[in-house]
Amino acid sequence: MERVLSVSETRGRLTGLVQQVAERGGEVIITTRDEPMAVLMSYRAYQRWRERQRRQARVQFAELLSSAQELIETTLEGSREAGDSDLYLFWHNFKPLAEDLWQAGLEVSEGHALITSTLLDVTLMVLDGDAPLQPEHLAVLKRIATDLLPRPELTADDAAQAHRLLVEGGLRTVFPVEGDLATLYEEAM
């Protein structure tokens, strides 16, 4: 059951409202100047809602990943050498996918969020540059998309591994810094 109360109406009644939603369920929508601003719900209902959201995100993530894999595979099949226009079109088509993957990845796990945000950065930097594009770059993306991203849980260590693969594959993952990025990684390890 849903109730709507203003902030001033909840003042002095918060303990009772918390007990009510915790024991009987339902939600209380709290408004400020008639605008809904917050929701009070039981922690158990909140957990259920979050779990549902994560499950949906996982399904969506898997669908997006499958589209990305298909795009990578098809482009790799068709591109012969550096400077093929297929590669240029690939990065343009991959950009909206990378954005959606990142949005869904935020809900899947910390590692998914980190890796997909890096992929989006890489995509933006590739498109921003003017160097000939290499088929080898896609081989790295393929490895990440088939070996890492389908895993149900990913950690910051997995994200570091993806980062290293991208750098070793010749893709810039952060905005330009002095020195060679691959060397920086070797020194850190």
């Binding site: 098809t74 068709g78 226009s85 240029y88």
Partner: protein, 252 residues
């Protein structure tokens, strides 16, 4: 175009009909007038993955650039010679049509992509044969999230045409061709010979990039009807293939 002798147009001629110099295009029109003009769905597939895809590339480049001269710089920096040349041929087509200014260029490219180029491919063509049932020939560019997409490449893992069956049906004609091609000094012809050798044991080998990269010239030569002459600018490959398969080449 007519009821005269039959001429089968290869992809190179189909592209030249659109991007050749004014003199060359006029010459082609004269040459094909009165002939019965034939082409194929496989040629259309090649046309889509070259000229139509290039048009999408050009559209994307223009839409991402504030100034039109940046487009030429990007073509020079980003693309290899083969791809850059084709993009510049299309660019020249726009100049020839007196299409200047970013918005007008984008608008014209949109019409090329959405129907203009395929319409031009079909113009003056009396018959489009469909021997291989090429799945890519059915694809058309579509607009997705701010950009055009065109599936221009098939994959070995997915069967979407009748190429295997069609090649198997022509095994008698292909008998001995592989041996001859493998002895060629032309790497592309040697590769066709190798693929023909692999084909009986592994029929799916002719799908994916082997079809779109290597077997195209052989497929087109085989598709050319017995009573038609094959018209191409790529004489280096087709002279050998036509001689092997007993097909005449069009001599203007």
């Amino acid at each position: 175009m007519g009821d005269g002798p039959r001429v089968f147009l290869d992809t190179t001629i189909q592209i030249e009909r659109l991007t050749g110099t004014r003199a060359r295009r006029a010459q082609l029109t004269v040459q094909l007038t009165g002939k019965k003009v034939v082409t194929s769905t496989y040629v259309l597939g090649e046309f889509l993955r070259t000229l139509v895809k290039d048009c999408i590339t050009l559209y994307t480049l223009v839409s991402q650039s504030v100034y039109l001269d940046d487009v030429e710089v990007q073509i020079a920096n980003r693309f290899n010679k083969r791809e850059a040349s084709r993009c510049l041929l299309l660019w020249a087509t726009l100049q020839r049509a007196r299409v200047y200014g970013r918005e007008k260029v984008l608008c014209t490219l949109r019409t090329y992509i959405e129907y203009g180029l395929v319409q031009a491919f079909m113009a003056g063509v009396d018959q489009v044969s469909d021997a291989t049932g090429c799945g890519l020939a059915q694809e058309r560019p579509h607009w997705v999230e701010g950009t055009y997409r065109l599936r221009a490449q098939c994959r070995r893992e997915v069967k979407e045409c009748q190429l295997e069956e069609w090649l198997a049906a022509h095994s008698a004609a292909l008998d001995g061709v592989a041996l001859h091609l493998r002895a060629s000094e032309e790497p592309a012809l040697v590769r066709i010979g190798e693929l023909l050798d692999e084909f009986p044991q592994e029929p799916e080998t002719v799908r994916g990039r082997n079809c779109t990269w290597y077997l195209g010239d052989l497929i087109i030569t085989l598709e050319c009807p017995a009573d038609a002459a094959l018209y191409t600018t790529n004489r280096r490959h087709f002279e050998v293939l036509c001689a092997q398969l007993g097909k005449p080449m069009y001599e203007p």
